[in-house]
C-alpha cells in the first residue's frame, strides 16, 4: 500500500512504470472504508468511488466499521455520525486513540449540521466535515481525492 512513498530499489522510471500498471488494479488501488447505515448512499457513492479506481470496503454500523478499520487499515475513512451499535463520535474517538489507525484521514459525512457537532468532530480529529445535503456527489468525490492528497 505504500508504493507512492517507496524510495527503495523500486524507484525511478521502473517504479513509475510498475505503479502505473498496477494503479488500475484492485491490488494496488487505495482503500476507502465507508461506514454508513444507509445502503442506498453506500451504493451511490460506493459505485462512483469504485469507478474512480478505489477499493471500497463497506460497513453498515459503528462496531463493524471500527473492526474493519483496525483489521484492514484503509487509506481513508468516510464516517457517518448516526450509526447503529456505536455512534460515529465513539468510532472517531476509538480510531484516533489507536496508534494503528490514528493517522488515517477521516471524512465525516452526515446530515447533522449543528456547530456543536461540527466542532466536536474536528476536535476529535476528523480531517473534514461534510453535510450530505449541501454537496453534490462530484464535490464529495473531489473532497475525498483532496484528503488523499491527489
Amino acid at each position: 500500500m505504500v508504493y507512492h512513498t517507496n524510495s527503495g530499489p523500486l524507484s525511478g522510471p521502473i517504479y513509475r512504470a510498475i505503479s502505473s500498471l498496477l494503479k488500475n488494479n484492485n491490488f494496488m488501488s487505495k482503500k476507502i472504508l465507508f461506514i454508513e447505515d444507509e445502503a442506498a448512499l453506500q451504493k451511490t457513492l460506493g459505485d462512483v468511488l469504485e469507478q474512480e479506481g478505489y477499493k471500497v470496503i463497506k460497513a453498515l454500523d459503528g462496531e463493524a466499521g471500527l473492526k474493519a478499520a483496525q483489521t484492514g487499515i484503509p487509506d481513508l475513512i468516510l464516517l457517518d455520525l448516526i450509526l447503529p451499535k456505536m455512534h460515529g463520535f465513539e468510532v472517531l474517538k476509538a480510531l484516533k486513540g489507536d496508534t494503528a489507525t490514528k493517522d488515517i484521514p477521516i471524512i465525516v459525512l452526515t446530515n447533522l449540521e449543528s456547530m456543536g457537532d461540527i466542532e466536536k468532530a474536528l476536535e476529535l480529529g476528523a480531517t473534514t466535515y461534510l453535510i450530505k445535503a449541501s454537496y453534490t456527489l462530484e464535490e464529495v468525490v473531489g473532497k475525498i481525492k483532496k484528503a488523499l492528497g491527489e
Binding site: 442506498a40 451511490t44 446530515n111 445535503a133 453534490t136
Partner: protein, 318 residues
C-alpha cells in the same frame, strides 16, 4: 383596530374552534369571562358598600369570594396560554424533526439522480433524459424547501447560528448575480449591478447567511417580473451602514398585503396569479437574518409598477 374588527374578534366561539380549543381552555373566552367578573366585582362592591356599610364583614366576605373566582380564572388563563406556548414549541420541534428525517432519503435521491444525469454509467437520451431532468429539478426544489423549513425552525427556537466577520459585500452580490444571470436571461430579464463606489468599506456580518438574503431578493425580483425587464442591484454606503437594494419593475405588492409581507408562510394574492411556486418563507428568513446581523430590512412597492427591497448592514470597524 376598527370597531368592526373588534366585533369580529369577539366572535369567540368561532375563534376558539379555529384554534381547536375547548371554551374553558380558550384564552379569548377566559379573558372575556374575567373582564365580566371584574366589572361585576366592582359593581357589587359599590352596591354593597353603599347599602351594607354597617356590616363590613359581609361585604369583605362577598369581595373575597369574587376575588377567589378571579384568581381561579387568571390561573386558567395562564394554563391555557402555557398550553398554546407548548403547542407552538412542539410545532417548531416537529418541523425540525420532520425536515431532518426528510433529508436522508432526499440526499439518496439527489445523489442517485446526479449519477444518472451525469452519464457516468451510460448515457440516457431522448424522453427518458427529459423525465430524469424533471426528477432532478424537483428533488432540488424539495431540498431547498426543506432547508428553508430547517432555517425557520432554527429561527423560531432562537438557534439560528450567526458568525459575524468582516467581508466584501460587493463580491457576495456579484456571485449571487452571476448565479441568477442564466435563468434571468432565459426570460429576457437583465440584472444590472449599479456602479459600486471604489474603496467601498467591508461589511460586518455573517456572509453565508446574508448570501441567502441577497439570493432571495434577486430570486423574487426575477420571479415576479412579467416578460422582459430590468433588475437594478445597488450597494451604497450610508453613514455607518451599507445599503443593499434590488429594484424590479415586476408585479409589485398590493397595498393591503404589504403589512404581512415579512410574515411566515404569507404569499401575496397577486403573486399567486403568476407564480404558484414558493413557500412564503424567504422574506421571513431574510428579516430574521438581517435583524440578527444588526441591520434593517424594508421595501417600497406599488402594484403593477414594481418593488424595491433593501437591507442595511453595519460597516466593519464602525
Amino acid at each position: 383596530m376598527s370597531f368592526r374588527e373588534i366585533l369580529e374578534q369577539l366572535n369567540i366561539r368561532a375563534t376558539c374552534k379555529q384554534y381547536g380549543l375547548g371554551m374553558w381552555r380558550c384564552p379569548q373566552f377566559l379573558f372575556l369571562l374575567m373582564g365580566s367578573v371584574i366589572i361585576i366585582t366592582a359593581l357589587v362592591t359599590y352596591f354593597l358598600g353603599t347599602r351594607y356599610v354597617a356590616d363590613p364583614g359581609t361585604v369583605s366576605l362577598i369581595v373575597l369570594v369574587l376575588t377567589v373566582i378571579l384568581f381561579v380564572l387568571t390561573f386558567s388563563i395562564t394554563r391555557s396560554l402555557e398550553g398554546l406556548a407548548e403547542a407552538n414549541r412542539l410545532k417548531t420541534e416537529f418541523i425540525s424533526i420532520v425536515s431532518h428525517q426528510l433529508r436522508s432519503p432526499l440526499s439518496n435521491l439527489k445523489w442517485a439522480l446526479e449519477i444518472l444525469v451525469s452519464d457516468r454509467f451510460g448515457k440516457i437520451d431522448g424522453k427518458p433524459a427529459e423525465y430524469l431532468q424533471i426528477l432532478s429539478d424537483n428533488t432540488k426544489r424539495m431540498g431547498e424547501l426543506i432547508s428553508s423549513l430547517l432555517i425557520v425552525s432554527r429561527i423560531d427556537q432562537g438557534r439560528l447560528p450567526i458568525h459575524n466577520a468582516e467581508f466584501p459585500l460587493s463580491d457576495l452580490v456579484k456571485e449571487a448575480i452571476a448565479e441568477f444571470k442564466p435563468i434571468a436571461s432565459a426570460s429576457n430579464i437583465e440584472i444590472v449591478l449599479e456602479t459600486v463606489k471604489p474603496n467601498l468599506p467591508q461589511a460586518f456580518g455573517d456572509s453565508s447567511q446574508l448570501k441567502i438574503v441577497i439570493e432571495n431578493f434577486i430570486d423574487n425580483a426575477v420571479r415576479y417580473t412579467k416578460g422582459a425587464g430590468k433588475i437594478v442591484v445597488a450597494i451604497v454606503p450610508k453613514k455607518d451602514r451599507l445599503l443593499f437594494s434590488v429594484k424590479d419593475g415586476g408585479v409589485g405588492i398590493p397595498k393591503e398585503d404589504q403589512k404581512h409581507i415579512f410574515q411566515k408562510f404569507f404569499r401575496s394574492g397577486n403573486v399567486l396569479k403568476y407564480q404558484t411556486q414558493g413557500s412564503g418563507l424567504g422574506l421571513y428568513i431574510a428579516k430574521s437574518i438581517v435583524e440578527k446581523s444588526g441591520g434593517k430590512i424594508g421595501f417600497k412597492s406599488e402594484q403593477d409598477k414594481g418593488s424595491t427591497f433593501w437591507f442595511t448592514i453595519p460597516i466593519a470597524g464602525r
